[in-house]
């Protein structure tokens, strides 16, 4: 039997109150793409963090090419020619792309910036990323930051590449490109571990699949030898049937528009034009999907709508009222709710309690506040009801938000937007990194809101999500509306609009 290039034996790891991994065995053969499949919280990221030296296992051993090794830090892992692309980015916001890449690779005391920049450009071109090595991380969107992570991992001489949910921010076309690139790497003899909770991807790309559930290995299978349904059962332990009943509206033009955006021009953090004359109208009970690859103005659009970003030119009207450049609090009072993307970066206050997190966009509500004071006791019941309604798992509403898992944090953000009956909801990438059940819950909630005649702007880089939920889709490309789709739309049509040049 051929020795696997990586063998992890009897790996266990526990965190306070939780056993993340329980005697897990995992092996990777040379020249294979191996998917690590499981729901959120199954332990996939933890296992790979151990392989990459970011965590120490409580028990267990790791063998590389048959030799026992101790991986004490990512620098050790990199010396063993392991590279990792993280799900939650490990980037220093205030430094540039070039500096971040240099941080993880250059060992000499003096960094040759030009050399690093050249290599970054080399890798970027090979895989079709368009990232300016001199831009600062905090100025990039989520999708762009992810591309930086991939560049970082590919920078050195890697034999083994670990990717943690890399496609959560890529379009189908980019995903295909990534898969193509991975297959090329595999054929050249590299070995790849691909963490995902997406079944289709695992079946599509991998040679073997290891399924994890609640910290234990459920089985190792070949995609050709198993059905999708059986895989689901392995991942989840039960059959999950996801059906979304959607009543497609055929453009109810008779109502008063909820939102009217006219020729909006907005700058990004770097002072460059992010939205270049965007116009659209949203009617009550309509889900308007805003599709597009990250970095084409989506975040700036959402922030302009909620009053968190200056509008340079153009107008925004909500319920007929001109709210261009008005204060966020006034816009919220009109009945607008915002569920931001990247919940950890923009949404959650980690050390404040669940109750305070629910309150932070709602404390002007006269139900629980007076002129300068907040009535926490009258909010308590509202909070408890929300926890129940959205099934947020937490021991109490006083628990600091940082102890909640990803899925529960997202539910928290959604619950926050539901304290008041909103008239317009802006959601951005609400289901990234969520497991099957949580995604279904988010989608159900959106449909429920739509049925209540709430206008919804759904910004998402998940094309399937947009197509499934939207009544109309507009594509944002380089700050302009590059495509307008009504009714049934094919994924390929929308994807094409996302990637071809926008009309002038």
């Amino acid at each position: 039997m051929v020795e696997p290039i990586i063998r992890m034996e009897k790996i266990s790891k526990r965190f306070p109150n939780v056993v993340a991994l329980d005697n897990v065995d995992f092996s990777l053969m040379k020249g294979e793409i191996h998917a690590l499949l499981g729901e959120n919280g199954a332990g996939k990221t933890t296992l790979m963090k151990i392989l990459f030296g970011m965590l120490k296992p409580d028990t267990g051993t790791i063998y590389i090419n048959g030799k026992k090794v101790k991986i004490k830090s990512p620098k050790d892992a990199i010396q063993y020619k392991i590279g990792m692309v993280h799900q939650h980015f490990m980037l220093v916001d205030s430094l540039t792309v070039l500096e971040n890449v240099a941080l993880s690779h250059e060992n000499k005391p003096i960094v040759d910036h030009d050399k690093v920049e050249k290599r970054i450009k080399e890798i970027s071109e090979r895989y079709g990323f368009f990232i300016d090595p001199r831009s600062k991380i905090w100025q990039l969107s989520v999708g762009e930051q992810q591309k930086v992570e991939i560049i970082k991992a590919l920078y050195g001489d890697v034999d083994i590449l670990i990717l943690d949910e890399p496609t959560s921010v890529l379009t189908p076309i980019e995903t295909e490109e990534l898969f193509k690139a991975l297959k090329v790497m595999r054929n050249q003899g590299k070995s790849i571990i691909f963490i995902t909770h997406k079944l289709d991807e695992a079946i599509n790309i991998s040679d073997r699949i290891t399924v994890l559930r609640k910290g234990k290995v459920v089985g190792v299978v070949k995609p050709s030898e198993i059905t999708k349904a059986d895989l689901v059962k392995m991942m989840v332990g039960r059959e999950v049937i996801e059906t979304v009943n959607k009543d497609k509206l055929t453009n109810n033009l008779s109502g008063e528009p909820i939102a009217e955006v006219e020729n909006l021009v907005v700058l990004n953090d770097r002072g460059l034009v992010a939205l270049n004359g965007v116009s659209f109208v949203l009617y009550p009970g309509e889900i308007l999907g805003i599709a597009g690859v990250a970095g084409n103005g989506q975040r700036e659009l959402a922030e302009a709508l909620i009053g968190a970003r200056k509008v340079s030119r153009g107008k925004i009207k909500i319920l007929g009222i001109d709210i261009t450049n008005k204060k966020t609090k006034d816009i919220i009072k009109l009945g607008v709710s915002y569920v931001p993307e990247d919940r950890i970066r923009f949404g959650i206050l980690p050390n404040l309690s669940v109750a305070e997190n629910l309150l932070i966009t709602n404390y002007e509500d006269p139900r629980f506040s007076k002129r300068i004071t907040i009535n926490y006791s009258s909010f308590k019941n509202v909070a408890l009801n929300l926890i129940k309604e959205f099934n947020i798992v937490t021991s109490s509403i006083q628990t600091p938000a940082k102890f909640l898992s990803g899925g529960n944090l997202q539910k928290l953000l959604i619950a926050r937007s539901a304290v008041k009956e909103p008239k317009l909801i802006i959601v951005s990438n609400p289901t990234t990194g969520l497991d099957v059940a949580s995604v279904a819950m988010v989608h159900e909630w959106l449909i429920k809101m739509k049925k209540k005649n709430v206008g919804i702007i759904l910004i998402s880089e998940d094309l399937e999500e947009i197509i499934k939920l939207s009544d109309r889709i507009i594509v944002l490309k380089e700050g302009k509306v590059a495509g307008n789709f009504v009714g049934e739309a094919k994924i390929t049509e929308v994807a094409t609009a996302m990637t071809t040049k926008a009309p002038t």
Partner: protein, 352 residues
């Protein structure tokens, strides 16, 4: 045997207190070693210090005397630190408060009946105005407030020097750089037998409860807590970052200014060069440890001030050098701060 550090999921109040008490005990033990090296019996030394500080009314009153300025500064700082506005300029703001109050006492035409309230108001404004400069630079131009407020401490010392060596130098003081004494109606009353200027003490207690109210019950309190926790999320929720950063900085400056008034009007009865032996800096630790909770800030301020007094007792009664006093304070604070790490992590020992 393996020693494993595990992150704690929840920290119980008991664990919180236990870790801190243990660290203080360890610190006292280490300082005891220092005493031994100085040729003094540590038990004797501690008994003398404890007796000096807590064993008599005068010692306790001195602890309170020093806790007033430290507590006022720390209270103000805790508000700023909650919003993660890192004001390091309390000392300079205290000095400015003292300067403004001195002007009222010696060089203004305020009628005697109104002079004490005017001094407090002036001191508050002085400290606030001094803090306004780093505050504005931070809010408008994103200039680092740590550096500006720190450097302005030195500027305030030079302003003080200018005034004391120059236009405000007193008459008949043999050319010492000090002002004239304040007239009797510009001096704060004391608790008899002590140096405690009680109006300032009352102000401190009232302000503690005011800040407690602000933190726990008001919208502003929630807003600044949010700012300190995740600035981006706070911004997106519509919190006025500009306004709030300005306000917390001004509050912390104003309170330091009041501390300055207490020192000139309650302790020295004149303006001198050493009006603050570093109270503004000492206040940083209690403010940081206290976090959102003004009561803890106050208790921590009492602790820091008793370190001050204990150090003085050690110097006077044991003949220890002044340097050793600083070592004493420093070691205790070092242990306390380092132990903060263990509050978040549990030590597990595995016997293999």
């Amino acid at each position: 045997m393996k020693v494993i550090l595990e992150k704690r999921a929840q920290v119980s109040k008991y664990e919180l207190v236990a870790v801190r008490v243990a660290s203080i005990v360890l610190a006292l033990f280490s300082v005891g070693l220092l005493f031994i090296f100085s040729g003094i019996d540590p038990f004797y030394a501690y008994s003398v210090i404890l007796a000096g500080v807590f064993g008599n009314a005068y010692g306790i009153s001195e602890v309170i005397v020093k806790a007033i300025p430290i507590g006022l500064c720390a209270l103000g700082l805790s508000v700023a630190y909650t919003a993660k506005v890192l004001n390091i300029g309390s000392d300079g703001q205290l000095i400015m408060g003292a300067i403004f109050a001195t002007w009222i006492a010696l060089f203004s035409n305020v009628p005697p009946a109104l002079i004490l309230p005017s001094m407090f108001l002036a001191g508050f404004i002085g400290g606030l105005a001094w803090a306004a400069i780093p505050a504005f630079l931070r809010s408008k131009y994103n200039v680092n407030e740590v550096i500006v407020s720190l450097m302005m401490n030195y500027i305030s010392l030079k302003v003080l020097d200018y005034l004391l060596y120059g236009p405000w130098r007193g008459h008949g003081v043999f050319n010492y750089p000090i002002t004239d004494e304040f007239p009797m109606f510009a001096r704060l009353p004391l608790i008899p037998g002590t140096r405690i200027h009680y109006p300032t003490l009352i102000l401190l207690i009232l302000l503690t409860f005011l800040i407690l109210f602000i933190m726990n019950r008001t919208k502003f309190g929630l807003e600044i807590k949010a700012m300190g926790d995740n600035l981006e999320a706070a911004r997106i929720s519509g919190i006025d970052i500009f306004r709030n950063s300005l306000i917390v900085m001004l509050i912390s400056g104003g309170l330091a200014g009041i501390a300055g008034v207490g020192e000139v009007a309650g302790i020295q009865y004149r303006l001198i060069r050493n009006i603050s032996p570093g109270y503004g800096y000492s206040a940083i630790i209690p403010a940081w440890i206290g976090g959102f909770n003004p009561i803890i800030v106050l208790v921590a301020s009492l602790f820091v001030s008793s370190l001050f007094v204990g150090g003085n007792v050690a110097k006077v009664s044991l003949g220890l050098s002044y340097g050793l006093v600083n070592v004493f304070n420093g070691v205790i604070l070092l242990f306390l701060i380092s132990s903060e790490y263990l509050v978040g992590y549990r030590v597990r020992i595995e016997w293999m």
